[in-house]
Structure formats: C-alpha cells, structure tokens
C-alpha cells in the first residue's frame, strides 16, 4: 500500500525529510486507452458504448490478472502499475516479455475477432520505471508518482489504434527476458518491432528513445 503523505503546513520540515527517505518502487507502467470511445458514445448511444467498454475491459486479460494494480482510470484510459516483486509472483505474467506478448495478443484478438461491433480498439504505452514512488496524498488510496510515470503518459501521444508504444528501456528488459528464456525474438511479437524513434516530451528533461509495434 502507498505511503500516505499529507502535511498541511507548506513549509513543513518533516515533509521534506519524509520525501527524501522514500525508496523507489521499480516496475512496469502501462497506459491502456480505448480508441474513439467518446465518438462511439455520442454516435451510437450510451448503452452500446457501455457494452463495448464492458466487453473490452473483460477481454484484456492483464486487467483480470492484476486487479489490484489498476491504479486509476482517467476518462477511458487506464493506468496500471506492476512493481517487479508482484510481477515475479504471477503465473502467466512472470516477466516483462509476457506483459507485452499478452497485450499484443489481446489487441490482435480484438482486431481480428470475426464478430464485429463487440469490442473497442485499444492503444497502449509501456515503460519500465525506476524513478517512481509508491506514495499518495489521499488517505486510503494507492498511487505512484515519479518522472517515469509522466514519461509513460507522454509516450501515449505516439500511440494509436492497435498500436503499442514502449520505451527502449522496456525493450531492453524484454530482450533480457527472452535471452534468459532462450526464446528467439522472431518467434514473438518482437518480430513486428519498429526501428528506434527519439523525441522530446514536455516535462521530461532528456530525449526519449522508444519503439512501436503495430498490430
């Protein structure tokens, strides 16, 4: 559970001391957004829109496997944060490779599902975070703050329908997993990986290297 911090005195010395002592919480940050959700809501009505959201969220197995790691919903976008120690305890999602492979499979299944108008297309951004802290300013609430969370959110601006955008840092984690598992990259969703892109993002003080998989 997140460390609750709330000092009403803006000049509090205690607050500074506490913040300096908080250990980072490395893990994987994932943003999943439903594409054109608002348009569907207004064109097809609330009932149809609600049904598609229900079907789509049920279909994303990652959400069912990590119900306690869904940090928040922002509009039709979900933020999931999976600390490394929790990932290591799972049966299906045991490493970073499995996260992206399963997300790729989910988006592929949605895109190629033979019955139409059951799901919404998704877009995803992923990053492996080290500059992140499990703290909250609201009592009994779980949250994560840090530059790497901001970076994951910014990466979403490069995503789109049926696309997964992920930082080079995350890709290196996946490569490491595949080497350990002795699985060739070409037998995985990595056979669709793009070349490197580099961009500057607002609030991130260095250029970010990232890659894309289009389904």
């Amino acid at each position: 559970m997140a460390l609750y911090i709330h000092h009403k005195d803006p000049a509090s010395k205690d607050l500074e001391k506490i913040l300096k002592k908080i250990p980072p919480c490395p893990g994987t940050c994932i943003f999943i957004d439903l594409v054109e959700s608002t348009g569907i809501k207004y064109k097809k009505g609330i009932a149809h829109w609600g049904k598609l959201i229900n079907n789509t969220f049920n279909f994303i197995s990652l959400l069912n496997d990590f119900p306690d790691n869904i940090v928040k919903g922002i509009g039709d976008e979900l933020m999931i944060y999976i600390p490394d120690d929790i990932l290591a305890k799972k049966e299906t999602f045991t490493n970073h490779y499995s996260i992206i492979e399963e997300l790729h499979a989910t988006l592929d299944n949605i895109k190629n599902f033979p019955v139409k108008n059951l799901f919404m297309n998704c877009k995803v951004s992923l990053h492996y975070c080290t500059d992140v802290y499990n703290i909250t300013y609201l009592r009994n609430y779980n949250d994560y703050y840090g530059k790497d969370i901001d970076l994951t959110a910014r990466l979403m601006s490069k995503s789109g329908r049926n696309r997964i955008v992920f930082s080079e840092v995350f890709y290196l984690k996946v490569k490491e997993d595949l080497q350990k598992l002795n699985i060739p990259e070409e037998l995985t969703c990595m056979n669709k990986i793009s070349d490197i892109f580099t961009d500057n993002f607002k609030g991130i003080p260095y250029p970010v290297i990232y890659r894309i998989i289009d389904i």
Binding site: E91, E102, P114
Partner: protein
C-alpha cells in the same frame, strides 16, 4: 506444454497437455500452420489435459480457425476444462468455435 498428434481417418487430433501461454504458444502455432500448409482440412484440438490458456494462446486458436476456414475445413475443440470454458465465455470464443464435451463426440461430428 506437450502436444501429441494422431490421425483418425482424414482428421488430425492434437492433444494438448499443460499451460498454453507466452512460453509455448509458438509450438502450437507451428503445428497448426504446418497442418494447414499441408492442406489438412479437419482438425480436432483435444484439451482434456490443458490447464490454462492465456490471450497469446487464444490468438493462435483464432489464427488457426481463419486458416482452416480458408481451405473450407473444420477446426473443432473438445474436452475443455471448466476454467477454460469460463475464459471462452468471457472472451466470446465460445461463439466462434465448434465445441464438443468429449473426443468421441468431436470425432463423430466428422463422420
């Protein structure tokens, strides 16, 4: 996961054992692609000993269904365990595939 292959007339039966997930979906993908490339039209997937299937496993089943449909064949699944039937229901896959409660019933459907 282990895959055992046997033939019954002009039908191939693939029996799965274990978990079908990111670590081994490529095994099944290769088997199914190899069969459809040889123009094998009738395939039964026996899941009696399949304990778990993830999205990457479901993706391979969807791909196989498409490949078999192209050659106007039939891809049927039998002996699904209750926890996998649940996954099929939630994901809508129950509506896409011909499902049979036993291997004998699946074989009989081809005769």
């Amino acid at each position: 996961m282990n895959i055992k292959q046997e033939s019954f007339g002009n039908t191939v039966i693939l029996s799965l054992n274990g978990r079908l997930d990111t670590l081994n979906f490529a095994l099944l993908e290769n088997e199914l692609t190899s069969l459809t490339e040889k123009n094998q039209k009738n395939i039964i997937l026996d899941c009696q000993d399949l304990d778990y299937i993830s999205s990457s496993g479901l993706r391979i089943l969807l791909k196989a269904l498409k490949q078999v449909n192209v050659v106007q064949g039939r891809f049927t699944i039998c002996n699904l365990q209750p926890q996998i039937i649940q996954i099929f229901k939630i994901s809508g896959f129950e509506r896409l595939f011909e499902l049979y409660p036993s291997l004998n019933e699946a074989i009989a459907s081809f005769q």
